[in-house]
């Protein structure tokens, strides 16, 4: 049998998991109070020294919490799955939600009255002193206009820390924090007072020593706490466990780890200290199997079962980390996601297969814990063992969407093309959603912006206008165009303008972080900050990038193909007719947009999300309201004509069916974006690089885009990442994958994201595993970069029955015959639904 099945987790793991699942998240105030106190005490010191003093204070005073059943200890908050607040980045939105955060629908957090009062007091200090305030003051009005019109947003790092990094966990496991302090002392000893940057570097080194000394104490406080608990513990087994925990925390991360248990504990301290220092998300463990396996190999005394339990403990712990977002973002990103990406498999620096015992144990841990964290990924290359890929497919078949699979054969050359050395590129890991980087040598700024390609096309079709505003350059009235090349030329000019402003926006935020939030704890774990004597935020990393991510490629490609076919070639409709139909949303008047006073919950939420995601302060709410209340253009008597135009447009070959006619247009739409992005430089001395993935912004930002020539109605979702538009890939998964692979993924070195749907029946049995693996292999042969699979369940089929338009791509394959699910008669659909239940 190819399928091996997964074992059950131990009772301890089940209890730990249950505690996480049942936990009520709180907002806690300790960190905010401590950082504020420290900043009041350090006025006049250099920014890096202020950060070090703040870290020192927090590491020495943050409450210490050890929960029942834990073998790996260390928590950011007193309560499980709770969050601290980092007011030094931004705070206004927390204050607004003091009374409502506990009762909101998505991702509620409780804020006790005392906590709210403490936070309120602390926030007073930060008026005008945050990174977001500084970034805002740097941005030009033109750039803010682009943001407020939904072309792009740089909200991620505007509101919080950058995160999005994979540090040198291996170094800590090996030499411990004392080893790091030694490295810093050695670098300091080599300093030459005649170096013009001498003072700055000396300052930086001192900041590191202060921070790491306090970090050692943080672990020692856990040792002390464990001993205290052991002293009063009546259960002999737990008492022994607590004493072992104390011994571990005395030793690591101060010293290097000498066995697997210590290695797990040491890893965990690094993971939380990074997230106590600042609140950026996507702090990614990266190649866990590579740096952990040596400690398993040397640990002769440990049983496989106990080692697995420790890995499982780390998995549960990763789910303890939580961050709060404002009400609306919380709805958009519901599920408390923090994107700690952990990847296994792949190659060594010298190009050999790197799969090891730990790679398989990590998969087992995923099946044991079945919680959202970590974001679990695997690397696949030509020499990846089939057994490993089959195992990953078996894991996917469990149906919760992991692992995501990444193609070494594209990512390694893509990184080399950005100046990463071959050895470093072979060592890549994934950050956050899908972003590749060389671990602990890169400040990738991966989630730098959401960029709306479909919006740029819409603006192109309106000669540079967004609504009534001349936002972009004047590139010609489209009714004067007679061929696709003219349209693409105009689109390119618009793209040049908007990417120019995107770069400006990102660089403003970048400067703000360098000036106000250089991070000493992080910097010692990213090469070559110690060698260069400067922080990650000031350009201390070997590799520096800024990676904005786009969505809407398929929408742009499909739209241009529809115009080419029906307007330019077949002349079935004129450009004037098209324009008018688009302006009237194909005759579909949506009442709720006609009145601002009766805005639905959805609209209200959307506006708030946009406010949060985009640049605070640049949006004038009154303007927005005015825009919203503007009456929709009158739908005149020819509503039916518009519907006809829509039907004609919809008879176009769509991206996702392996038709070069449209695939090559989509490819160009994306390339025009990515070639433009890579022209720009960031203040850290690095290059901009494009990505193509949406998180969930394709839904939110779809609301900013009017009707498109591909028949898409105004405000509806856009295509996600590099995937075809929802339901438009009707030639089966291999055809869809081939279309997607034509987008020139190596160009999107900040990552691409492709979602595929499967019915369990197609993947059943050992044959199913083989088919599955061969789909992955052949997509990767064609230079696809990333793919993840959703195994469709009964609920999806029921949803498809209700809303067939969204599920046209759903092909059911039962009993030697296949059919598009949505064209089948209701009774047949019901039959398949009942059969699907059986195969599950």
């Amino acid at each position: 049998m190819l399928a091996k099945g997964f074992t059950e987790p131990t009772e301890r793991i089940q209890k730990l998991k249950r505690a996480i699942v049942d936990a009520v998240p709180y907002v806690e105030s300790e960190r905010a109070v401590l950082v504020t106190e420290s900043y009041k005490e350090t006025e006049g010191l250099s920014p890096i020294m202020r950060r070090a003093r703040a870290a020192e204070k927090i590491f020495r005073s943050l409450p210490i919490t050890i929960h029942d059943n834990e073998l790996i200890v260390g928590a950011i908050t007193k309560n499980l799955r709770s969050t601290e607040i980092c007011p030094e980045f931004s705070y206004e939105w927390v204050e607004k939600e003091f009374d409502t955060m506990a009762t909101r629908i998505a991702d509620p957090f409780r804020i006790p009255k005392e906590t709210a009062a403490e936070l309120k007091e602390a926030f007073k200090y930060w008026d005008g002193k945050t990174t977001s305030a500084l970034a805002d003051s740097y941005m030009s009005q033109e750039t803010k206009d682009c943001i407020s019109n939904g072309v792009f947003t740089v909200g991620n790092y505007f509101y919080g820390g950058v995160g999005h990094v994979c540090v040198d966990y291996g170094k800590v496991l090996k030499i411990g924090f004392t080893g790091i302090i030694r490295q810093v002392m050695e670098a300091m000893a080599k300093l030459d007072t005649s170096d013009p940057d001498y003072i700055k570097k000396k300052n930086f080194y001192e900041a590191l020593i202060i921070t790491y000394s306090a970090a050692i104490q943080f672990a020692h406080r856990y040792a002390e706490k464990a001993r205290e608990m052991a002293a009063v513990c009546l259960d002999a087994t737990r008492k022994a466990e607590l004493l072992q925990i104390a011994a571990n925390c005395d030793k690591v991360p101060e010293q290097g780890a000498t066995n697997f248990y210590e290695a797990c504990q040491s890893f965990w301290f690094v993971q939380i200290l990074l997230q106590i220092e600042a609140n950026g998300h996507s702090i990614s463990p990266g190649r866990f199997d590579q740096y952990m396996n040596p400690y398993l190999a040397i640990d002769k005394g440990i049983s496989h079962e106990f080692a697995q339990e420790l890995v499982d403990c780390v998995w549960v712990k990763l789910n303890d980390i939580n961050k709060t977002r404002d009400e609306v973002s919380a709805q958009a990103f519901a599920g408390y996601a923090v994107f700690q990406n952990l990847i296994v498999g792949g190659q060594t620096e010298d190009g050999l297969d790197a799969t090891n015992e730990m790679s398989y144990m990590c998969m087992e841990a995923v099946a044991h814990v079945k919680l959202p964290a970590p974001s679990f990924s695997i690397r696949v290359h030509q020499n990846t063992p089939d057994e490993f890929l089959y195992r990953a497919c078996e894991l996917t078949r469990l149906g919760f969407g992991v692992p995501a699979m990444y193609n070494d054969e594209v990512i390694i050359p893509a990184l080399c093309n950005r100046g990463v050395s071959l050895a470093d590129a072979r060592n890549y890991c994934i950050i956050g959603c899908v972003e590749p980087q060389c671990p602990h040598k890169t400040e990738g700024w991966h989630d730098a912006a959401f960029f709306n390609i479909a919006k740029v096309l819409e603006i192109t079709l309106n000669n540079g206008k967004a609504g009534d505003k001349q936002l972009g350059p004047i590139t010609g009235d489209i009714t004067s165009f007679t061929n696709l090349e003219q349209l693409l030329e105009a689109y390119k000019k618009q793209m040049e303008y908007f990417v120019y402003h995107l770069a400006e926006a990102d660089n403003c935020v970048d400067y703000a972080h360098a000036e106000r939030a250089p991070l000493p704890f992080l910097s010692a774990l990213v090469d070559d900050c110690i060698g260069r004597g400067k922080s990650v935020q000031e350009g201390g990393a070997f590799y520096n990038f800024t990676g904005p991510q786009a969505f809407g490629v398929a929408d742009a490609g499909d739209s241009l193909c529809a115009i080419k076919k029906h307007v330019f070639e077949n002349k079935e409709i004129t450009m004037e007719q098209l324009k008018e139909a688009l302006d009237h949303n194909f005759g579909d008047c949506c009442d709720k947009t006609c009145s601002a006073t009766e805005s639905t919950d959805e609209d209200r939420i959307y506006e708030a999300v946009k406010r949060i995601l985009s640049n605070n302060g640049s949006i004038n709410l009154a303007d927005l309201q005015a825009q919203l209340s503007k009456p929709q253009k009158e739908v005149s008597g020819n509503k039916e004509d518009y519907a006809q135009v829509k039907r004609i447009l919809e008879n176009t070959p769509w991206f996702g069916n392996d038709e070069d006619e449209v695939d090559m247009i989509a490819r160009r739409c994306g390339q025009i974006y990515s070639y433009e992005v890579e022209k720009y430089k960031n203040p850290r001395g690095g290059q901009f690089q494009a990505g193509c993935y949406p998180v969930s912004a394709n839904v939110l930002f779809g609301k900013d885009v009017g009707a498109l020539p591909d028949g898409r109605l105004a405000k509806t979702p856009l295509a996600d990442g590099v995937s075809p538009r929802q339901g438009k890939d009707t030639n089966g998964p291999t055809a869809a994958a081939m279309s997607v692979s034509k987008l020139d993924h190596a160009n999107y070195s900040n990552g691409t994201l492709y979602n595929q749907k499967f019915l369990p029946a197609a993947l059943a049995g050992d044959d199913g595993l083989k088919h599955f693996a061969s789909i992955v292999r052949s997509y990767f042969d064609h230079k696809g970069m990333h793919v993840q699979f959703n195994v469709i369940d009964r609920d999806t089929l029921l949803a498809a029955q209700k809303d067939p338009d969204q599920y046209k791509d759903l092909v059911v394959r039962v009993a030697g015959y296949s059919a598009q699910f949505t064209v089948l008669a209701k009774e047949v659909q019901d039959d398949i639904i009942s059969r699907t239940e059986q195969t599950l």
């Binding site: 029906h566 077949n570 079935e572 519907a643 006809q644 039907r647 004609i648 919809e650 008879n651 392996d658 030639n731 089966g732 998964p733 291999t734 055809a735 081939m738 197609a762 044959d767 083989k770 088919h771 693996a773 061969s774 789909i775 292999r777 052949s778 042969d781 064609h782 092909v811 394959r813 039962v814 009993a815 030697g816 015959y817 296949s818 059919a819 064209v823 089948l824 008669a825 009774e827 047949v828 039959d831 059969r835």
Partner: protein, 305 residues
């Protein structure tokens, strides 16, 4: 060196990728037009005629009238119950070319061997990775046997695995030109009684039974039985088929295909009646007894193929 006539043309009504059940691995199926049978349960009724047929999708139609203007024989009128008067229509396909909304579709396209191979190549990597290949289906591929033969030869030339679904009805010449290039034949045996066969499929089974030994001598063959309620779902009918299979060379596996009604909606698009409207689809577990009979004779039995 065997020469392949890449310019030879034939009529194809569909090419379907990612098929998992008609031969090993992941496959692409080429559906050829024309079938000597017209089985009542046929799930591809558009395949039966050798000529293209017009499908009219009422929901997609925008009533622009372009088709009415281009029809040379005046077969299209809003007055007609199904838009097209099937008696008058010559299936020339002009209306489908003119239809901007894709409501009129010509099922049946003239393609050269080269064009077919070009389409099949799109999944060549998947065949290689999965051990899959191509499958000819229909209709009955032996109807356009010269075309089928060239496609198969060209596919073998690409190194692809080949399979073919067949009713077994064709001339000796057709069998000899096609079967040697098929790695796996999926041969339907529907009923051993010629009268019953004729009633439900429109033709007797004499040719099938004569061709079966010829086919199984040349290529690996799997016997397939579409199990249709009221036609051949009795233990006796199945037993007779299995006993016949026992007399053939090299049969190891028999597929029982439970009746499904996936094709029903196509009858409406073609303006035809579906005679098995009231027959309920079978579930795999309905075939437990039939499966036991197959296994009793020492064959491997797969339900659903």
């Amino acid at each position: 060196m065997q020469s392949i006539n890449y310019n030879l043309t034939g009529t194809v009504f569909d090419i379907q990728r990612f098929s998992l059940h008609d031969g090993p691995g992941i496959r692409t199926i080429v559906f050829l037009k024309g079938c000597p049978l017209s089985c009542q349960w046929c799930s591809n009724p558009e395949s039966q005629s050798i000529k293209p047929v017009m499908m009219y999708k009422r929901d997609e139609c925008i009533h622009c009238g372009r088709c009415i203007n281009v029809c040379k024989v005046g077969a299209i009128s809003p007055e007609n119950e199904n838009w097209i008067d099937r008696e008058t229509c010559t299936s020339c396909g002009e209306c489908a070319n003119a239809c901007p909304a894709g409501a009129l579709v010509s099922k049946g396209k003239t393609m050269s061997v080269q064009q077919v191979i070009r389409e099949l190549k799109k999944d060549a990597t998947t065949y290689r990775r999965s051990g899959g290949g191509i499958t000819l289906s229909g209709g009955e591929p032996l109807v356009q046997y010269e075309f089928a033969s060239e496609i198969l030869k060209a596919s073998k030339g690409q190194g692809w695995n080949t399979a073919m679904e067949t009713t077994g009805i064709g001339t000796v010449e057709a069998v000899e030109q096609v079967i040697p290039y098929v790695d796996t034949v999926l041969l339907d045996i529907k009923h051993m009684d010629p009268e019953q066969h004729k009633r439900f499929t429109g033709a007797g089974n004499e040719v099938v039974l004569k061709n079966a030994p010829r086919i199984t001598k040349i290529s690996d063959t799997v016997i397939r039985v579409p199990v249709i309620p009221g036609f051949n779902d009795s233990p006796e009918a199945i037993r007779e088929i299995v006993a016949f299979a026992k007399t053939l060379t090299g049969i190891k596996t028999i597929h029982l295909l439970p009746y499904h009604s996936f094709g029903e909606n196509k009858y409406e698009l073609l303006g035809k009646d579906y005679e098995l409207k009231h027959v309920k689809p079978l579930n795999p577990e309905d075939l437990t007894e039939c499966k036991a009979i197959v296994e009793e004779y020492g064959f491997r039995c797969v339900i659903g193929g």
